[in-house]
């Protein structure tokens, strides 16, 4: 089987170079991944299709779709794959490659949520759940404001979430203030360095 990467297929090369991305060459397109995925019906392109598209050089279309972002990281496809492709890792590699090229989708809120989570962690070293949620909703609001102002203002009905917030608070499950770790500066330096070094191996 010829598994040589075509030099014209930049996306495939990038994914292949990511940790966990090597498996993309071994896929035999059997579809066990898609058949195992609990969210398969939501993907613009299924797991199997996503792999096929990446290999066919259809990167831009794939990375601008909502596929990958519906991966729950439940690893069911990974344990069932007969070729040890590790589709879960592949999906995360694709997410990172999409981010690197500024490709995104409005058909899923997960890219905004993931970034808000990562930024919250970068800031404090630990995740302050309330702070992260506020950051996510703020960014979602402004993203909607640019594209669909009507639904942005519908979102102000976040008031509907108040009972859940109060419920959590009254059960001692909502910390109002976060705390930074002592080594926060060091952690920030580590993350900054990792961004400099980039994802490829």
């Amino acid at each position: 089987m010829d598994t040589k990467v075509q030099s014209s297929n930049k996306l495939l090369e990038e994914i292949y170079a990511m940790p966990g991305g090597e498996g993309i060459r071994a896929c035999i397109q059997c579809g066990t991944c898609t058949g195992s995925c609990p969210t398969a019906d939501k993907w613009d392109f299924s797991v199997r299709q996503a792999i096929a598209m990446a290999r066919a050089g259809n990167g831009e279309e794939l990375l601008s779709s909502n596929s990958m972002w519906f991966c729950l990281s439940c690893y069911l496809c990974t344990v069932r794959c007969p070729r040890d492709v590790k589709p879960t890792e592949l999906m995360h590699a694709m997410e990172c490659v999409a981010a690197r090229h500024g490709l995104s989708t409005r058909r899923s809120n997960t890219p905004i949520m993931y970034r808000a989570f990562a930024d919250a962690v970068k800031n404090d070293g630990r995740l302050h759940e309330l702070g992260f949620m506020m950051l996510f909703y703020r960014r979602k609001f402004f993203s909607l404001l640019r594209t669909n102002p009507f639904s942005a203002f519908k979102m102000v009905s976040l008031v509907g979430m108040a009972p859940r917030g109060i419920g959590l608070y009254s059960h001692g499950r909502l910390g109002l203030r976060g705390a930074k770790i002592k080594g926060n500066k060091e952690l920030k330096a580590i993350i900054r360095k990792s961004e400099e070094l980039g994802g490829a191996l």
Partner: protein, 292 residues
């Protein structure tokens, strides 16, 4: 006495699952397990970080492994997400020396270095395999006979493996429940995903998954669900009323951490177990065991 480094994770230390942290510590003590909290640990990065900055996700996790290496003990966490992220970093760094070098280059910027000598363990693994079912049984003061419990593993505690239990039909939590005298009900969806953090970004999708799990537990006769993951507990408990509203269902199923159930059987006082932190109250099903 058994000794471990302890990584509580953000939710269990100061977030929505504080009762998981406190019940973990109380039950560990009762079982002669000493959990030594890792000093100044940071968030593992969880799944979101892997979708933003791949190399960064390994580095953020590896700082904790580097801290743990100074003591040299196995690193134990009660959180399935922390477990998979830390274990994944360990595995990838071992399998790819090139990645290991890069991660260490970044770690050096923060004055750390990881040589790959730490083993990452989930608390369920430690209780089931290091402590053992017989030792758990020996600590039971209140037999939970008659209590029907759905053993919910969720996904990340057993996958991708190779781990300490079967990736699709695990038994360790079933056996812990049985050691307490309770009945572990059949639960075909025991390793199906709860929707995880997509409950925040794609609520409708996650609610559908949660409904299936609740439905599966109830139709197999469970009176409560037991979980080993703060995310699973939050989704099944906090969002149960949303499921009821959306699907016109009437679920009223308490969702406990397995350490809380163990604590009840061991006769540990309620304050340490945080039984009142569940949004769906558990007293209804536990009253016959917690009454002194």
């Amino acid at each position: 006495m058994k000794y471990y480094s302890y990584y509580p994770g953000c939710s269990n230390s100061d977030g929505g699952a504080k009762s998981y942290g406190s019940s973990t510590e109380a039950v560990a003590k009762a079982l002669d397990v000493e959990l030594h909290e890792l000093e100044d640990w940071n968030c593992c990065g969880s799944t979101p970080f892997t979708g933003v900055n791949e190399l960064g996700s390994f580095c953020v996790a590896a700082r904790n492994l580097a801290l743990a290496e100074k003591r040299g003990l196995d690193l134990v966490t009660p959180c399935s997400s922390c477990y998979i992220i830390l274990a994944r970093t360990n595995l990838h760094m071992k399998e790819s020396p090139k990645l290991g070098e890069k991660v260490n280059e970044a770690l050096a910027a923060g004055g750390q270095k990881y040589n790959g000598t730490i083993k990452v363990r989930h608390l369920l693994d430690v209780f089931a395999n290091d402590v053992g079912y017989d030792a758990i049984k020996a600590k039971v003061k209140r037999d939970l006979a008659g209590l029907k419990v759905a053993p919910y593993y969720g996904c990340q505690v057993v996958r991708p493996g190779p781990g300490f239990d079967h990736p699709e039909n695990p038994q360790s939590l079933d056996r812990v429940i049985q050691s307490l005298g309770a009945e572990a009900t059949p639960f075909p969806l025991k390793t199906r995903c709860c929707g995880a953090s997509l409950i925040i970004s794609e609520e409708d999708l996650a609610l559908e998954l949660i409904r299936k799990l609740l439905d599966n537990a109830v139709s197999n006769g469970a009176e409560c669900i037991v979980t080993v993951c703060p995310m699973c507990q939050t989704n099944l408990d906090v969002y149960q009323s949303r499921v009821n509203r959306k699907f016109k269902t009437k679920f009223n199923l308490p969702v406990l951490f397995f350490t809380q159930l163990m604590g009840v059987a061991f006769g540990i006082e309620d304050k340490a177990l945080g039984l009142g932190s569940g949004i769906i109250p558990a007293d209804r099903v536990l009253a016959r065991y917690t009454r002194r």
